[in-house]
């Protein structure tokens, strides 16, 4: 009998929180899934895995890696075993994210107008002005409905005792939502009927929610506003996501060269002449948006876009300048912001974070480097960081030198032992570290978060880095109804 073979030798360690196992017993929300998988022959699961790979490949759910002048198409590795979040956990996460986004949005409104938070000495002024994503051009610019943070993907992790923490606030152009949608579609195909049996809440209406919230921003009050998705183009690694979202919402996918500004209004060039554009969901970074205002060499943006925006003739999603709120050094102050703007205690905790500018904190970090991660404040994707217990002596010394030269650009955090979930690897279930990125939409009528998100997995044994650029994969993420 080959039954339950795939669970043989599954060892959930003590140094991390295991999402499925509590010691040797199965956690309640995972029981049904366990019963289902227990008797699943490994050959069958291999077939499912192969089927998932084929579905991704044939649908072109790929990202491109460039080496030299040739691009190689790769699929984002998908693990067939879903990650489960209970209704209770979800309510907690959801209310925590909503609270955080409200505060961050108030912060952006404040920092680009009256700057009360600086005047009241909650955040030091040089913290703001030394942030390279702080845009003077956004000062006193009235953004539609006072919303800066329309679309966000806040990264959540779980420490060894199971507590949730916010690791990063991604408020600029977070990606991954198309994988949340695709992963769910794949689960429907490879495990028929399993979703309703577990009463998993659906995520499929994300594109409709997004469309509704984009349409509500239209500066012209017409019933059929012209909404476009602005992409840097086919060479961008997230191009698949841009074209998928555009197709799912039925909006035009444009590049900078498709748009033109005339008399402070934005138009797209069509075969029948110019057509007015009302809302731009852009996946182009701030500095490339408008060559007249930002990087003058940019070919990805639209000349005059910022003047049209400033006059309220077009809505830009997300608002430019959000980078000042998701900077890794500003992150330290988010709990203070929540208290300052909302007069509430933060629901979701921050990971303890050390400012490298502060001499005593820096000293402490350097002395305890083996338990620390040092990160660049403006880098993402798992780049530009050093993990104290896995780097060599030399690497650490080199890194320390950089930190001392430019301390504002670095922060340090204790190494968090991310929670682990079972992944199907080489015919066996093995624990691998995971995080969670839920996707929130902040519209004129409030904040909505589709119950789910992207669970990223560090596929390498023992690795704590989940980024796709560093060999990470993903899982379907189930939020249970009850």
């Amino acid at each position: 009998m080959g039954s339950s073979a795939i669970f043989n030798n599954y060892t959930s360690g003590n140094e991390f929180y295991d999402e499925m196992y509590n010691g040797s017993s199965i956690r309640a929300p995972y029981k049904k899934l366990y019963e289902f998988l227990k008797n699943y022959p490994a050959e069958e699961l291999n077939k499912k895995e192969e089927m998932a790979r084929r579905l991704f490949m044939s649908q072109g759910v790929t990202f491109t890696v460039y080496s030299g002048d040739e691009g190689i198409e790769k699929i984002f590795p998908f693990d067939v075993v879903p990650r489960i979040i209970t209704a209770e956990e979800w309510n907690y996460i959801e209310s925590g994210i909503k609270q955080r986004l409200k505060a961050l949005n108030l912060f952006l409104n404040d920092i680009y107008s009256n700057q009360f938070i600086i005047k009241d000495k909650i955040i030091p002024i040089d913290m703001i002005y030394s942030c390279e994503h702080y845009l003077r051009e956004m000062h006193n610019l009235k953004v539609p409905h006072d919303i800066f943070v329309h679309i966000s993907g806040i990264d959540i992790i779980r420490d060894a005792d199971g507590t949730f923490y916010v690791l990063e606030d991604n408020l600029r152009t977070p990606s991954g939502v198309s994988y949340m949608l695709e992963n769910r579609e794949i689960t429907k195909r490879i495990f028929p009927d399993l979703l309703p049996q577990n009463s998993v809440r659906p995520v499929t209406n994300y594109p409709q929610l997004l469309y509704k919230s984009l349409a509500a921003l239209s500066p012209r009050h017409n019933s059929n506003p012209n909404i476009v998705m602005l992409t840097p183009g086919i060479y961008n690694s997230a191009y698949f996501e841009h074209s998928t979202l555009a197709r799912l919402m039925g909006i035009e996918l444009v590049e900078g060269r498709d748009l033109v500004v005339d008399n402070h209004r934005v138009f797209m060039k069509t075969t029948e002449g110019l057509q007015r554009v009302d809302v731009i969901y852009r996946r182009v970074d701030d500095e490339y948006l408008d060559p007249l205002v930002f990087n003058s060499g940019s070919m990805l943006g639209v000349a005059g876009l910022m003047s049209a925006y400033r006059r309220g003739h077009v809505a830009i999603v997300n608002a430019p300048g959000n980078g000042v709120a998701d900077d890794k050094a500003i992150y330290i102050y988010v709990p203070d912001m929540i208290k300052y703007y909302l007069n509430e205690e933060p629901i979701l905790k921050n990971v303890p974070t050390y400012k490298m500018e502060d001499v005593s904190e820096r000293k402490y970090v350097f002395e305890h480097i083996e338990n620390m991660v040092i990160k660049k404040t403006n880098a993402s994707g798992g780049y530009g960081m050093i993990i104290g217990n896995s780097a060599t002596e030399n690497e650490i010394e080199e890194y320390k030198k950089q930190v001392v030269l430019d301390p504002r650009s670095f922060i340090a955090q204790p190494i968090i032992s991310l929670s682990a979930a079972p992944c199907y690897i080489n015919g066996k279930l093995q624990p691998r570290r995971i995080d969670l990125r839920p996707f929130a939409i902040f519209g004129p009528s409030g904040i909505e978060i589709v119950p789910g998100g992207l669970t990223r997995v560090a596929l390498k044994e023992g690795s704590l880095v989940v980024n796709s650029s560093q060999g990470g994969g993903s899982k379907d993420t189930w939020v249970l109804n009850s």
Partner: protein, 311 residues
């Protein structure tokens, strides 16, 4: 439709048509070189279809296999099959939401075929005709999928405009290749074998026999490739189809653009339709072909200007 999308569909289609033309041209010339091993020169092909330096052409003109390699798999040659398929696919990729999934997958497959290392080896050591035939088959697959799956909307018609404009240019160029060698003289007696291969490679041999029932004479060949309305690779046929596709684009919103290009296409069609071999002999074949090519190029630029929002 976005101008950029129309432009990408147009070029996707033009590159595929050019690729097909070049493969067929290579096929006929290679087949012919086997009969004429003594004096066959690839010079006209290299002159007209590549930007190879004259000095390199002199070195390469008798090296059939090298020419094939250069024109099929060379990555630096902008007009090699490799480059053309790659460019066609890049265009399709940037408008993936405007082409059918089948069409995208077909171009993607073709792309992987041209990148396969076995292709280089096969061109070196195996029978090149079979290799070229296989590639032509890939192209036929593409044509079939376009016809069967693409919705009859603006995008489809822009693809057809690209296709027929390119095909008309190809036919002019194919005539140029052979007649340049004969000094553009219709009197010069040329080898009927070449004409036979030419017609075979563009699937025109049978229709030729049915239409002309006579020897493979330069005049009849010229007639078939320029004026035969039943021959799908003739210049007149291509221009007629170009006109038909273009006419579907007429709307109230772009009357200026429509009028300008409609005039140019109409003029070209009359130019071809109301000329015959006699005019041609008086004016000179070289000038005649040159004029038609210039008009085709001008139509291409007019599309850039009026529909694709360049300059």
């Amino acid at each position: 439709m976005l101008s950029r999308v129309a432009n990408s569909l147009y070029w996707m289609s033009r590159y595929m048509e050019r690729c097909d033309g070049i493969l067929r041209l290579l096929r006929v010339n290679y087949a012919y070189s086997q009969d004429e091993f003594d004096k066959f020169s690839w010079r006209p092909v290299l002159m007209i279809f590549t930007d190879m330096l004259p000095i390199t052409i002199e070195k390469t003109k008798y090296e059939g296999r090298k020419v094939l390699e250069f024109m099929v798999t060379d990555k630096l040659n902008k007009n090699s099959v490799f480059s053309l398929v790659n460019k066609s696919r890049e265009n399709a990729r940037s408008v993936q939401d405007n082409v059918t999934k089948e069409l995208w997958q077909c171009l993607n497959d073709y792309y992987h075929v041209t990148r396969n290392k076995d292709l280089v080896t096969a061109l070196k050591v195996e029978d090149p005709i079979s290799v070229l035939d296989d590639l032509v088959q890939q192209g036929m697959h593409y044509y079939g999928i376009c016809e069967i799956t693409m919705a009859r909307g603006e995008g489809y018609y822009f693809m057809n405009i690209g296709k027929y404009l390119e095909r008309a240019m190809q036919s002019v160029d194919i005539l140029n290749v052979k007649f340049s060698e004969l000094g553009y003289s219709l009197e010069e007696r040329s080898d009927p074998t070449y004409w036979k291969y030419l017609l075979l490679s563009i699937s025109g041999y049978e229709i030729f026999l049915k239409s002309y029932r006579s020897a493979l004479d330069s005049r009849n060949i010229l007639h078939q490739i320029v004026w035969n309305e039943h021959f799908p690779r003739s210049i007149i046929y291509s221009v007629k189809r170009l006109k038909q596709s273009f006419e579907t684009l007429k709307t109230d919103r772009n009357s200026e653009a429509y009028k300008a290009i409609s005039f140019m296409i109409g003029k070209l069609e009359s130019h071809i339709r109301y000329s015959d071999l006699k005019d041609l002999e008086e004016k000179g074949l070289k000038e005649y072909l040159h004029d038609i090519k210039q008009e085709l190029l001008a139509i291409g630029s007019a599309f850039n200007h009026y529909y694709f929002a360049f300059n």
